[in-house]
């Protein structure tokens, strides 16, 4: 492992401290926890979308080899409602009633000695339903769309109009140029590599839950409430998470049932969802249909932005895509902005947060519309965006703390070679390939939550830095080590990090791209507090070489305590006084700065695509992404984050989409053979560049967040490049070859 040079500038580049564990199979994900005497649960799912279960025949399953129990709505596991609904992914608790709200809903749990026995017994259960026809199609549901009321703290229908302008349509009517387009995209799934899994172990009325989660604390609260036990009796452990993307924030049916079954059966129960089951037992991203109408002057100045969206919502609740309010709301300066978010409630599995919730779909519509406007105006798409760069948050008189979107474009254009572009569509033909380039903006708000970190000086010479946050592959293990190293002036390899355990220092977890921004500042505070404790021990303990020195005369310096004429390492001190460790917890939270500025990360994407002139398949040749995300804590894992975000966007642009059968509500491609994600061969060279301007108005670290911003705008950049290559504007995602065959 590389270690950070002492006193180096903030952006170090170190390998993942958990990398070795991961590549050697030593990292234990939830399903890898082998509790003694564990039984295995297999979920039973509904095979209709809407109705009531009349009866279930479980006799054969109960007789099957190894079966311990079959739980159903007719023989349920008791769960308490009303506890912590925020963090259950749907509005109901499993098995507490016989209603079926969507195809693939959990309606039972078979528990057996082995996974295979549970699965095979599950195949023997049959259910008899009173079936009603489901509503499963977004387009069909649009006529009965409803107003969700408020979105992101603002009205779902929001007008920010110039003085004297009555309606957005008035502003559009008086614009010199207008463009309008309707953009659609299907429901999508997170498809994290690690499927959802839980191992529930009860011992002496204490529950330990190994459950891959983005938030051990939210899971803990939810499970405790649903099971009716004191939160102090529950511990949630999740040191490694194989991808979350927002789908491991809420608590789904499997940990609730595993924990309840383990209590009832008096032995540990493990439930691992099959890949197919993750599609319906956990969350998704809404299907979205949007219309964006832009009005501008001939010189490209935006006069009016009108952005309307219909997002699918589930009758079981959930977090729907908020496309206009997360993008057109503030990405560009325009005299008149009108947003309108509607929801279409369907008999489908609940949507939940999914990487850049709202921005992902919203940016596809807005950033494609801008490209259409550029074409209409005969203006360079980069110049058009620079012309409309917003310097204050529209409709609020607050500036951004640190905003460099213009620089993203300038730097990106140079790195990419944008100036070589002939703007005419279909102007670059190389053999059988039509070549085109496109660009789009990225935007994501910076979030910060209260967080605590514990720093402990150990007698063995290492320092432990720990917090109940999560690492979803995002790099948190390493970020804690890097920040601990900087705060303590020690090499990275002397920092022992720990996370993903609800018993560690309080932390809400990893979501909203806020984990580093929230946890990072607390590291320095905790380091400071722990050094103070160390000094206190040094001057008070009678066996300490510094005994009796006034505390004010001792300072901490890179692992040593320094007093006039004397210096002692903390390990030597702890050994001398025979104390195993000295620790302190530091906590930080966002302060009053949060009303005074807007905090947002930005970026610009550039990409080159090739479309086969015969068979129409779009292929990416290269991508350049420049990110304005504040200070970058560890360049290496940060780059991986952006690459991952961009690949997420490639999936959105070219491949991904659930095929929800309108008549049955069944997802026809609920598996990774047919729900297509990008494979390595689909991913071109990706050039990632960080501007690295610290945003110290946001937090002392100057770091915002980069987990999601990389995804935003990618689909538009790709679609815009496809338009440039072929002259065809595809407004319906994914852009598959059938849409490009002419």
């Amino acid at each position: 492992m590389q270690s950070a040079a002492q006193g180096a500038a903030r952006t170090v580049s170190v390998n993942r401290v958990d990398g070795r564990l991961k590549v050697t199979g030593g990292a234990r994900y939830s399903a890898d926890h082998l509790a003694e005497r564990a039984a295995h649960g297999y979920l039973l799912l509904s095979t209709v979308a809407l109705g009531t279960i009349r009866s279930m025949d479980v006799a054969a399953a109960q007789r099957a080899p190894g079966v311990l129990a079959v739980f159903t709505p007719f023989h349920p596991l008791k769960l308490n409602g009303g506890g912590n609904p925020f963090s259950v992914g749907h509005s109901w608790l499993p098995l507490q009633d016989a209603e079926v709200r969507y195809h693939g809903q959990a309606i039972g749990l078979v528990v057996a000695e082995t996974f295979e026995q549970a699965r095979d017994a599950a195949a023997l259960v049959s259910a008899d339903y009173d079936v009603r026809p489901p509503a499963a199609s977004l387009p069909d549901g649009i006529p009965r769309a409803t107003d969700p009321g408020r979105v992101n703290g603002e009205p779902a229908v929001l007008n920010l109009l110039a003085d004297g302008v009555g309606t957005i349509d008035e502003a559009l009517a008086s614009s010199e140029v207008t463009v309008s387009g309707t953009y659609s995209q299907p429901m999508k799934h997170h498809s994290a590599m690690e499927p959802h899994a839980t191992v529930a172990v009860w011992q002496d009325d204490q529950l330990t839950l190994y459950n891959g989660t983005q938030s051990a604390s939210l899971t803990l609260g939810t499970i405790a409430a649903a099971l009716g036990v004191e939160p102090a009796r529950v511990r949630v452990i999740s040191p490694h998470v194989g991808g979350g993307f927002g789908n491991k924030i809420a608590t789904w049916a499997h940990p609730l049932l595993a924990a309840a079954a383990a209590r009832t059966l008096g032995r540990p129960v493990k439930v691992v969802l099959t890949r197919e089951q993750t599609f319906t037992v956990t969350g998704n991203r809404s299907a979205v249909r949007q219309t964006v109408t832009l009005g501008a002057r001939r010189d490209g100045t935006l006069v009016a932005v009108k952005h309307q969206a219909y997002s699918s919502q589930s009758t079981s609740g959930g977090i729907f895509e908020t496309s206009p309010h997360t993008t057109s709301r503030y990405l560009y300066r325009a005299e008149n902005i009108h947003l309108d978010q509607k929801i279409v409630t369907l008999d489908v599995p609940p949507p939940t947060w999914m990487r850049a919730p709202g921005q992902e779909s919203g940016s596809f519509a807005l950033e494609t519309a801008l490209d259409e406007l550029a074409v209409e105006l005969g203006m360079d798409p980069v110049a058009l965006r620079l012309r409309n760069d917003a310097t204050v948050y529209p409709g609020r008189n607050v500036p951004w703390s640190s905003k460099h979107l213009d620089e993203c474009y300038r730097v990106g254009a140079r790195r990419f070679g944008w100036d070589r572009r002939d703007p005419a569509p279909r102007s670059d033909v190389r053999g059988e390939w039509l070549v085109g380039t496109g660009t789009a903006s990225a935007v994501y708000p910076a979030e910060r939550f209260p967080a605590s970190v514990k720093v402990r000086f150990q007698a063995d010479g290492d320092v432990a830095v720990s917090s109940a946050t999560a690492d979803l592959g995002t790099g948190m293990w390493t970020v804690l080590a890097v920040l601990g190293s900087e705060a303590l002036g020690l090499p990275v390899d002397r920092i022992r990090t720990d996370l993903g355990d609800s018993t560690l220092a309080a932390n809400i977890g990893a979501f909203g791209s806020g984990a580093t921004a929230s946890t990072g500042p607390a590291v320095a505070v905790a380091a400071e507090a722990a050094s103070t404790e160390l000094i206190k021990l040094a001057v008070t303990h009678e066996r300490s070489p510094l005994h009796g020195v006034p505390a004010a005369d001792v300072r901490y310096d890179r692992g040593d305590l320094v007093a006039p004429g004397r210096r002692i390492g903390f390990a030597a001190l702890l050994q001398a006084v025979d104390v195993a460790g000295v620790e302190a917890t530091g906590s930080t939270a966002p302060g009053p700065e949060h009303g005074q500025h807007a905090f947002t990360s930005f970026g610009a994407h550039f990409c080159e695509v090739r479309v086969n002139r015969w068979t129409g398949e779009p292929r990416l040749a290269r991508i350049t992404t420049v990110i304005d995300g504040g200070a970058i804590v560890n360049a290496k894992t940060a780059r991986s984050q952006i690459i991952g975000g961009v690949i997420f966007g490639i999936g959105q642009a070219l491949l991904e989409g659930a095929q929800v059968e309108p008549a049955t509500g069944r997802i026809a491609n609920a598996n990774l053979a047919e729900y297509l994600l990008p494979v390595n061969a689909d991913v071109p060279p990706i050039d990632v560049h960080f501007l690295n301007h610290p945003d110290t108005l946001f937090n002392p670290l100057g770091a915002r967040g980069i987990g999601e911003v990389g995804t935003v705008g990618v689909a538009a950049a790709i679609g815009n490049a496809i338009h440039h290559a072929t002259g065809r504007r595809i407004r319906d995602l994914p852009i598959t070859l059938d849409k490009l065959l002419d």
Partner: protein
Amino acid sequence: MRAFDFAVAETLGQALTRAGSGAGSAYLAGGTTLVDLMKLDVMTPRQVVDINRLPLRGVTTDRSGLHIGALERMSDVAVHPLVTARYPVIAQALSRSASPQLRNMASIGGNLLQRVRCGYFRDTSTPCNKREPGSGCPAIGGENRGHAILGTSDSCVATHPSDLAVALVALDASVRLVGRDGTRDVRLADFYRLPGDTPQLEHDLRPGELVTRVTVPELAWARRSAYLKIRDRQSYEFALASAAVALDLRDGVIRDVRLAVGGVGTRPWRLPEVEEALRGMSPRPDAVEAAAARAVADARPLAHNRFKVTLVRRTIVRALTNLAG
């Protein structure tokens, strides 16, 4: 998965005896189709006979052509010098199939006998005429973007999934079948059945029979051959359309040609009428496209796969012009 008896056969005779009449019995080669479908409860043999120890190996040539043992692994055949040099179309069809891990396990015989990828076939909570004769075909009115436009019936519209089979049908390959009643060689083109009213019957293998080898007749000009596979992503996906082409091109004129397409038919689809139209022609794109139009004269597209009518034509044009150029 249902409980089943498991036996390992050491010899061909043992395998045939074990399988007996064949009813309820399945041979296990790489298991990448069989075990997958058993886990899904789609295939439910009472007995599984492992044939991996049988001596059905080897890639050899003699006067009658190239012989490939049924238990050769896809990954080995894909890089075998005899194959890459003489029949690039076979090597390419194999290396564009599935994933490296699957190709390391999967056998040539198993590949030719793999089952369809229709999502309804694989989901026992839905009807399917192939899985449960007479229960209906939800694909016809359901999700059918990947389904066939050629050779379909009102009972079944599933696409034949094998890439290798397309290349082999283009090359007039045959399979050797060994059963308790003897040995026979069958042209692969005749081996596969159309679904008609009996989509559960996919091929001409009799119960208990084994595929022991594949033979590809000598065809010197197959050195100029290629497999073009079109799909949404660039790897690890079945074909939306594919073309296996071998070209005898002399002085810019097509003297002879072999052409079969995949991803569009209920079996690997040889195109004699297009071959006929191409003979004597110089392979210019417009001329090839006109000839290729014959491929889809009888196409019956469904709600989501109409694009395949155009796509398969273009795939042929692209494959041929690239090979000629």
